[in-house]
Point group: C2
């Protein structure tokens, strides 16, 4: 009949109050909270308790705590860092494997490409082609520019995600990329022939998007990611 009574922990109450102030606009991004010694008076709590609350808010990504004069707790713009971190924790605790993440990535990149095919502006295609030209330059220079190529590849995928204008896709893809690169880079083996193959995939994919062919864009994006995944698995097995 009743709900569990509200927790009475002081630091939680402080976390909630500050969080609510951020969400209803009484505190806005960039704004600095009062100094700890002032805040503690305002809440009528000890500094230790206040600091526990601030640590929690920091870990949630809502504030950033800076040292020194002019420092303090600055309200942040919420972004996808915490989602990435949490996904990373799942991976590190072996709840999620490379295969799991790779399979998910194939689907998501497919969907994103399909949406982009139905949704793009001329400006988007221009940006993609500019990135393709940069990628092409890397390919010509071969394996030594592997890292730069991978970085541009990532930019291309994120640019396509931007086209959807849906922050969920952007966040999700961002989190996937973060973690693919943080934990699985070591598996990635690409020399000049693989770079060329990959580059051609990207060109075809961008073409399909430009032509508004969503099914083709989806298929090509999936195939591109699948190839990428295979390079990683290959390398993993060689070990």
């Amino acid at each position: 009949m009743f709900q569990t009574a509200k927790q009475t922990k002081v630091f939680q109450d402080v976390v909630e109050q500050i969080q609510e102030a951020i969400f209803d606009g009484r505190l806005t991004a960039g704004q600095t909270l009062p100094a700890e010694r002032e805040l503690k008076e305002m809440f009528n709590i000890s500094r230790g308790t206040l600091r526990e609350a601030l640590r929690v808010l920091e870990q949630k990504g809502l504030i950033e705590i800076k040292l020194g004069v002019g420092g303090g707790s600055v309200v942040r713009t919420v972004d996808t860092d915490q989602i990435s971190e949490s996904l990373g924790l799942l991976i590190r605790s072996q709840k999620v494997s490379l295969n799991h993440l790779a399979q998910f990535r194939e689907d998501v990149e497919g969907i994103v490409a399909a949406h982009a095919a139905k949704n793009h502006a001329a400006e988007d295609i221009r940006k993609l082609k500019y990135l393709l030209a940069k990628a092409h330059a890397c390919v010509r220079k071969g394996g030594s520019h592997r890292n730069m190529f991978i970085d541009i590849d990532k930019q291309i995928h994120m640019t396509i995600a931007q086209i959807t204008a849906n922050p969920v896709y952007i966040s999700v893809l961002h989190s996937i990329h973060d973690n693919i690169h943080r934990y699985y880079d070591r598996f990635l083996s690409m020399q000049k022939p693989e770079l060329e193959e990959n580059y051609n995939d990207l060109c075809d994919m961008v073409d399909a998007i430009e032509n508004g062919d969503d099914e083709m864009a989806r298929k090509l994006a999936q195939q591109h990611v699948k190839r990428f995944n295979q390079y990683m698995k290959k390398r993993e097995e060689e070990k």
Copy 2:
């Protein structure tokens, strides 16, 4: 040429040490850490600093802190709560709207249903049909059992996600549902005719999965979710 030098903050070092101990198995889920007064000696730090570290680990979802005798910091099994929470923060800071999340959900449910169609065991279908029967009972009883129907609907979707055997889909869908219900329930308007419509959608979807027709399963899942979204938007506009 060089990386930023390692942060010297004591509590961060403690967070990392405990986190690493969890990931390489020196600490396992269910295990209780030494009491704060012991831990502080082991790390040779003050209790306040230790507690900041423990708060951070708690917020990361790695430990749970219990009060009283036999309490202490218990190592948790990492789950999707943190991802859900972070997604919730993005929503509350208006970085993500109902439309954004709904669109993403359509795609993900489609994918998950398609995978399930290609991947299910007889046991899975049995469970789904059992849930459908329960849903049917709710429909017969009409709008008063709306909440129960929605709960079963959710269970059906999560069961389908389980069939994929990919924890990423399960986590993502879990996070979506958590937030759809936390923030958007108030928009949901369903009476008996809508419940029937929804129930029929679910039956068709399960049939397609049973028959291994992945494209049909995808299409039906998307349509089902889309209808669901439309009820929400309708209600939102009525306000």
